[in-house]
Amino acid sequence: MSTLALQVRGVGKRYRIGARKQADRQGLLHRLGALARRSQTDDRTFWALQDVSFEIRHGENVGLIGLNGAGKSTLLKILSRITRPTTGRITVDGRIGALLEVGTGFHGDLTGRENVFLYGSILGMTREEVRRKFDAIVEFSGTGPFIDTPVKRYSSGMYVRLAFSVAAHMEPEILLLDEVLAVGDLPFQRKCMEFAKEMQRRDAAIMFVSHNMFSIKTMCERVIYLRRGRVVYDGPTDEGIRLYEEDCRTLSQESGLEGDGRLTVTSVEVLAEDGTERHLFQYGERMRVRIRYRAHEPLEAPNFIVAVMRADDVSCCSFSTEDDVASRPVVDGQGVVELLTPPIRLVAEMYRIFVLVRAKGFQDLIAVHGPTPIHIAHDLYDTHFGVFHEHGEWRWLDEAGSAASRAASDTSLTR
């Protein structure tokens, strides 16, 4: 049985609301005056974390999820000793490596080589250790030819790659990762993923914070879900993500677009082709979107639209009853309408499905529902390949322009 790497008991962190702003605005004199008068004006506080307890064992890979402001960063900062908790106690067993933001501590005027040593020592490595691993670090980062150039001349990708490489080679026993894997190009991202898995094989404990449920799904068996500073879920990944996505949905329902209310979309289910409920689809699968609605008055040929947005708000594709010549002349009362999509060729990423209902044509907005999050998985094609990916047909021609071989187009099907 593996040993405990982290034991967190009753940790809380209290912040003063606007303490910093007040200091800036009112200045030293006011504050000194307030101190002298024992003024109560600064007593407005809020708890960024409250009564957080959990344990992580060596060899475990735990995802930390939660909406913005749930306390994820605060927790990481406490675990990495950047700031102290207000209450509670944490026992740490092992060398902690925290990558909250890659490359802080890099200095633009220093060369890549100099920064490797500086950053290494910031992360707690000794000079001998960095020297021993130097070649491996440079090799991993792929910045070899530029290692003696000041890093301010690096592209942001190179910069981050070099920094991550240093961090990757400190071989921590407890690794705290804050979305750093979301940097760099595709091959480098893969390297990072492999690195994290390798760390885990070597019995490191990993805590991974991300908003990308897809990465969480691929990386972690267990998630801790924070909501307003408290642990509301700690267990298997799938259930945790479901809770998180439910919260995302309610959140977006509270704000944003609104229809005029003549029709209500009561529920939207995303199903696999065989009708089972699903949120993770493989590239190339078909998807069913089942929409339940209640029309409060007879509507003439309302246009039901299913729009797919990527996590970064790129509108990817949409389907509409009008466009697909599937509108009904009149819609009234309760009903269900279902869309079966063609095979999805979108690249691997998280997407959100919105259902919109417009009056005949693309006019007035009658109802909005969403987003319903889904993930599309593919082990190669991600956003670096574009919005979608389809295989093309290639032909080799001779100089006269006639086909040299007819077999080539068939190969694309087998990949």
Binding site: R20, G27, L28, R95
Partner: protein, 283 residues
């Protein structure tokens, strides 16, 4: 877990994170573990200072020479300040060198935390490392300027005596003083940047309250006891004594210096530790 035993000298291992440290728990062990970071931060300061300057490190030599020329012209030639029988530029240079080091160390030590705010917000290490590195870094400039000074003295036909062996100790004393004050000003500066803006004036006033451009003998007798409470008085006087053989070793002044420095330093350490926990939240 075998990893740990394979690589000695790594920083790690079993520890507790608690809301507050004991009042007198200075965690100096952690500072020692991170001594290489201290070295690298100081080294970074030195590197960055002269990078992308056409003359590079030559500035470390040129700057004090320019200052000596300007101040000698103003105070030696025009104001005709006395200089204890020595050529005024020699007298001035010998006092200016420790003062320049001290004021640089104090200035950088105090604003260093804010200058490295990104680091403080994003990475753990004992925060004491930053002011320490900042008072160590200007030693390089001090060494270079001292080289110039010795050439300068030789030019005037003044050769160092055995007294010169005391110089390193005096440098250590000024370093301790700069650190002691920086330990107070640094944490305050994290919360109130007013420190940053006040510092140049503070240093200027302090310089005029120290016998750098004028000799101690110019200070009226009855003010001397008060004047000597300034710990830099003893340091600068001892510097001149060890370099130029000027005057006597003023044991009383040195004693006052050491006493004041010890009090401010220990208080500063405790104060710094107390404030350290909230740096990342307020910086």
């Amino acid at each position: 877990m075998s990893e740990v035993t394979e690589s000695p000298g790594r920083i790690s291992h079993r520890f507790e994170i608690r809301p507050d440290l004991g009042l007198f728990d200075l965690e100096l062990g952690a500072v020692w573990k991170y001594r290489q970071l201290l070295f690298f931060l100081a080294w970074r300061e030195v590197r960055v200072r002269y990078k992308q300057a056409a003359l590079g490190v030559a500035w470390a030599v040129l700057q004090p020479v320019m200052v000596v020329i300007i101040l000698s012209a103003v105070f030696g030639v025009f104001a005709r300040l006395p200089s204890e029988g020595l050529p005024y530029p020699v007298f001035l240079f010998a006092g200016l060198i420790p003062w320049t080091y001290f004021s640089e160390a104090l200035r950088r030590g105090s604003v260093g935390l804010v200058g490295d705010a990104e680091l403080v917000k994003k990475v753990y290490f004992p925060r004491l490392i930053i002011p320490l590195a900042m008072v160590v870094a200007p030693l390089v400039d001090l060494a270079l300027a001292s080289g110039v000074l010795f050439v300068f003295l030789a030019w005037y036909g003044i050769w160092p005596t055995v007294n010169v062996l005391l110089l390193p100790v005096l440098v250590l004393v000024s370093m301790a003083l700069a650190l002691a004050v920086a330990l107070w000003l640094g944490p305050i500066n994290v919360r109130f940047r007013d420190v940053m803006h006040t510092l140049p004036f503070l240093l200027q006033i302090w310089m005029y309250a120290t016998p750098v451009i004028y000799p101690l003998s110019m200070v009226p007798e009855r003010w001397q006891p008060l004047y000597r409470l300034n710990p830099m008085v003893g340091v600068i006087e001892a510097f001149r004594w060890s370099l130029l053989g000027m005057g006597e070793v003023d044991v009383a002044a040195i004693g006052v210096s050491l006493a004041v420095i010890s009090v401010v330093l220990v208080g500063g350490l405790l104060f710094f530790r107390r404030m350290e926990g909230s740096f990342a939240d307020v910086i």
